[in-house]
Each structure stands twice: as C-alpha cells, then as structure tokens.
C-alpha cells in the first residue's frame, strides 16, 4: 500500500493480491494432504520390504550358526537335539515342511480347481438368471468362514466321515507294493490328505470368484456365434467360453495356490504336526511350513529354535510372494484377453 499524494489528498492504493498468493493456506494444506497420502501409499511397499528384512534379521543367528543351505539338506527337525555350540548336523531341517506345504496344497488344488471351474460356469452360463446372484453369494460365503472354524469342523466332522473311505483305500490300494506306498495306512484321522481336503474347501471360493470374472468377460458376440451355429449349451461353453479362459483359469488356480500355501490354523489342526521328517503316505501325519511355526512358536525354548522358525517363515514368505506375484500377472493377462 503506497500512499500517493496528489495535491494533498492521500489516496491509499489497495493493490489486489495476485491470484497465486490467494489462499496460501489452502495450498499448504493441500500439499500436506498430498504428502500424507503419498506416505500411506508408500506404506504398502515399506511393509512388504520390512517383512523380508525383519524375518531375515530374526533368523540370522541360526543362519550364521548352521549355514544357509544346511536347512535344506538336513534330514530332520529335532529341536531337542539342538545345542548351543555344535553346528553339525543341523537339527532344523525344513525339507519336510516344504514337502508338506507342497503336498497339501497340491491335493487342495486337484480337488478345488475342477469344482471351482464347474461352479463358476454354472454361475455364469448354466443357472437360470434369477439364481445367479444368490448362487454366487453362497459360494463366496465359503470364504467368509474363519480358518479356525474349518479346522474345528475338520477334526470333528470331516475326519469321522472320511475314515471309512480312507481305511478302505489303505487296506486295499495301500497294500500294493511300490504304488501303494503313498496310500498306505495306518490312518489316524489327521493327515496330509485331511489337510488337503480342508484346504480345497477353503480355496474353492477364491478360484471360483476369479473364474467367474474371467468367464463373464466372454464377449456376447462370440457366444451368439456359437449358438447360431446350432451348438448345445455345453458346446457353446466349450467353443466360446473356455478357450479364452485358459490363462485366466491358470491365474485363478495360482491365486488359490497362494492362499493354500499360507493357510495355517485349519491345516495345523488337521495335519497331525509330525515334524520329524517326511512321511511317505498321504494318509500319514505331517507338517507344513506354516503349521510348524504356529505349533512351536510359543514353546521354542531350545537353542536356535525360535530363529530357525524364522528361517521357515522367511522361506514361506518367499514361496508365497513368488506364487502371488505370478498369479497376479497371469490373471491380469487372462481377463484382459
């Protein structure tokens, strides 16, 4: 404000504030908001990175003591044999957990994928239109049931139900030399197979949900082309829906696999937690990477026990990361085709 004098009259000029400076407070607030929001966005990346780092850090003492690769080469997981000084042999062999994770997940997938694909096809192309939403919601409901409830149910409802069937298999197929070994008894209820069954029910809804989206993205134009040629409903599905959906189904299965790999509580309750070494039959008790952590964490008092559990956790994280990232890439490609 500069007073301009003109003949004694003082006029005070009010220079208007340039627009850019108006609402400076607002701009400041806006920048702060933007920064805050950017931080939260970065939180996702930070958390993931931190996970890897901290798990390694926690497991480091054991890695330093026993060496990185002995965890894979050692034959047994026998914490009671651990000593604070001796480093050979490594009593914390983890191969049987990797085996357990792979086996139970595989059993889960073999059962869940066909059922999920079938259910998704029914929801998108077979069921009468009015039933599609309810059916879809019901299948999704399977995903809402908590893991601990599945485990509980598995113990008390599923095992007695499958026992007669499994006993039959172990007493017939299981007695055949060589090929019967994976099916041998005795069956104590808790087993790799039981865990695989429970996993199948748990991952089915996720696979079905992704498959549903993939099938739904089939262009109507192509379905009509098939129908106009006189195709039956199954033929239409076979010609117009399924061929496009191949990579989508693979992606859905990978997502299910990722979930199966990480599932802990239900598996721990029905697998038997036999941690010593790999057991040959699918009806034997066993353990997975996640189940051993859950089972032994609170009682890990032996030397390097807790740290070795972190090594297991680290490997579990790597496996889950690889499967999940692969799954996302494949699914994105599957739906956009």
């Amino acid at each position: 404000m500069s007073p301009a004098s003109a003949g004694g009259i003082v006029t005070i000029e009010r220079r208007p504030q340039p627009i850019a400076l108006r609402g400076e407070h607002r701009r400041l607030g806006d920048s702060l908001f933007g920064a805050a929001v950017a931080l939260t966005g970065g939180a996702v990346l930070v958390v993931l990175a931190a996970m890897v780092v901290f798990l390694v850090l926690q497991g480091l003492p054991a890695i330093r003591h026993y060496g990185f690769f002995t965890f894979i080469t050692a034959q047994r997981w026998a914490p009671s044999e651990a000593s604070a000084t001796a480093a050979v042999p490594n009593p914390y062999g983890i191969v049987q957990f990797i085996y357990g994770t792979v086996l139970t997940s595989l059993i889960g997938m073999v059962i869940a994928v066909p059922l999920a694909v079938g259910a998704a096809l029914v929801i998108t192309d077979v069921a009468p239109r009015r039933l599609r939403r309810p059916l879809s919601s019901l299948v999704d409901l399977l995903a809402a049931v908590p893991s601990v409830v599945y485990g509980f149910w598995g113990l008390f409802a599923l095992i007695p139900a499958i026992r007669p069937v499994v006993d039959f298999i172990t007493s017939t197929l299981g007695t055949v030399p060589v090929i019967g070994v994976p099916f041998g008894g005795p069956f104590f209820g808790v087993s790799y197979f039981t865990a695989g069954l429970v996993l199948a029910i748990m991952i089915l809804p996720i696979i079905a949900a992704v498959c549903r989206e993939v099938f739904r993205s089939t262009p109507r134009n192509e379905k009509e082309a098939a129908v106009a040629l006189g195709a039956t409903r199954w033929e239409m599905i076979r010609i117009a829906v399924l061929p496009r959906a191949r990579s989508g189904i693979v992606g859905a299965s990978l997502i299910g696999l990722g979930r199966a790999v990480g599932e802990t509580i239900a598996v721990t309750m029905v697998i038997g937690n036999a941690v010593l070494h790999i057991n040959p039959s699918i009806f034997d008790q066993g353990a997975t990477m996640s189940s051993v952590i859950a089972n032994e964490f609170t009682e890990a008092t032996e030397p390097f026990h807790l740290e070795s559990l972190f090594v297991v956790g680290f490997w579990l994280l790597i496996v889950a990361l690889v499967v999940n990232m692969l799954a996302r890439v494949v699914v994105r490609r599957g739906v956009s085709l």
Binding site: F33, A209, G262
Partner: protein
C-alpha cells in the same frame, strides 16, 4: 436354386444330434454336481457348527469367562469376545485411515510406475500368509515391547490394510470424473475435492469394504498366536497386556481333549461365525457392488 432335397428332410435328419444332446446333459449334470458339492460343504460346515454350538450357547456364555477347570461345564467366552472386539477395533482404527489414504494416493495423486507398483504390491500383500505377518510383528514389536493386545492390533492392521486399500480404490475409481472436474473448476484444491466430493460419494462402498475387512480380521487366529498370545481365564481389557480373542479361544479349547472345553469351543465357533456372517451380510446388502475377491 436347383431344387435338391427339401430342407424339411434335413431338419430331422440328425443321427449325431442325440449323442450331442446326451453329452450336453451329462456335462451339465457334472457342472451342477460341482456346485452342489461346493454348497454342500458350506451347508455341512454351517449346520454342524450350528448344531454343536446351539446346545451349549446361552446368554451366560456371552457374559461369563471359562471356568478355571477345563473339565467343568458352564462358563463362557466373554473375555475372548471382549478381547476380539477391542483388538479388532484398534486394528480398524489403524488400517482404515492408512488404507483409505493409500487408495486416495493411487487414484487421485499417483502417477506412472509408482502407482502401478503400489497397486501390484498391495495385491501381493493381500496374499501374504497371516502367520508370516504375525512373525513380522513379533520381530518388530513384541521383541521390544512384549506380547500385548496392541501388537495383535498391529498384525491385524497389516492384514486389513491392503483389503481396505483395494476396495476403497475401486470405489473411488467409480466416482465420475465430471464430479471431480466440476469441483476443481470451482477453484477447489485437490485435497478439498477428495475430501468433500470423492470420499462422500464413494463412502457406502468404502464402508462395505471396511466391514468385510473387519469380518476377516475377526476370524484371524494365526497372527494373534504370535502377538497376543492369549489369556485364557481372565478378562483383560487393557490392550497393552496379553489378551484373549475369540479366535484364539476357540483354537485352544478345540484341542484340549476335555469335552466341556470342546463344547465351549463349539459355542464360541457358533458365536464367531454368527458375527462374521452378520457383518458380511450387512456389508454386502447395504453397500454398493464391491468386487468380491476375499483373497
């Protein structure tokens, strides 16, 4: 047209047709069997838990703690229920602002590769085994500050965060660009546009997503095993100490071998399922269509 066989004959001359129709019928039946198995499993689980739990559940179950002697009948899971509500409540308070913030960043502010990376890794974070999350929080927090309800909340927040972020992102994307442009054209800043226009418009969907995340967190057990540890017999409402949650309580009671404890476990399972199902149903019913990937 040279008059060859009249089309009339051809409509009916279909030897292969019966085979095709049979195949269609068989395949359709197989597909229906698949759905029936899936829904049958669901029904089995719900009905079984319902029956086992119904005989034990009572108002006193919800208001009393377990008896000191696991073999004794009666009592309830009050400490677990209360503990769950507290732990999950705090976790929600952490996860929702962070998740909504991350989503706002991705939708409204993000550019190029960073935004793509955050979206991608957010999805990856959803798939991390929850036991690993628990181990992580143990390593970061429990080693320094001990087991506590709050540590459990942190773990659950890590589980909930990517879920909330994803659904919020989807809801924000649905807000029409015209609304944003209208607001900016009036001179509002980005933050004002987001806070006053976008969030309120997307709010129903965001709430739905939040409720689904809460339902998921209520059911989680693994991460709490390593952070909260549980507190079987006593009601502990202070999150700075070890607490009991409903999920942990069901877990520990299920495997005791004592019939009465197991019976309480079933009642607990019924309670937990009821809470989760009600939350899920309400969320879906009132919210807008949220992409249903409970991954």
């Amino acid at each position: 047209m040279t008059d060859v066989a009249l089309p009339a004959a051809r409509f009916r001359q279909r030897p292969a047709l019966r085979r095709r129709r049979t195949k269609n019928a068989v395949m359709t039946a197989l597909l229906l069997v698949a759905v029936a198995l899936a829904l049958g499993a669901l029904a089995w689980v719900l009905v079984y838990v319902g029956i086992r739990g119904f005989s034990v559940i009572s108002p006193s179950f919800l208001t009393h703690n377990p008896p000191g002697n696991p073999a004794a009948p009666g009592g309830g899971f009050f400490n677990g229920i209360a503990g769950s509500l507290i732990v999950v409540g705090i976790a929600t308070g952490i996860a929702v602002p962070l998740g909504v913030g991350a989503a706002i960043y991705v939708v409204e502010y993000g550019r190029g590769r960073l935004r793509g990376a955050i979206r991608f890794f957010n999805d990856v974070l959803i798939g991390i085994p929850t036991i690993v999350t628990g181990a992580f929080v143990y390593a970061v927090w429990v080693t320094r500050f001990g087991f506590s309800g709050f540590a459990g909340s942190i773990a659950l927040a890590v589980v909930m965060l990517p879920l909330v972020a994803r659904t919020t992102e989807e809801m924000l994307r649905l807000v029409p660009t015209e609304l944003r442009e209208g607001s900016l054209a009036l001179g509002a800043t980005r933050s004002q546009t987001v806070l006053r226009i976008c969030l309120p418009t997307a709010l129903p969907g965001i709430i739905t997503g939040g409720m689904l995340a809460v339902a998921r967190a209520m059911g989680e057990t693994a991460p709490l095993l390593l952070t909260v540890l549980g507190n079987d017999l006593f009601t502990q409402l202070n999150p700075l100490h070890r607490m009991e949650t409903l999920s942990l309580q069901i877990f520990s009671n299920a495997v005791t071998g004592y019939e009465q404890a197991e019976a309480r476990g079933w009642a607990g399972a019924l309670t937990l399922i009821a809470i989760v199902l009600i939350l899920t149903a309400v969320a879906r019913f009132f919210g807008r269509r949220v992409q249903v990937e409970n991954v």
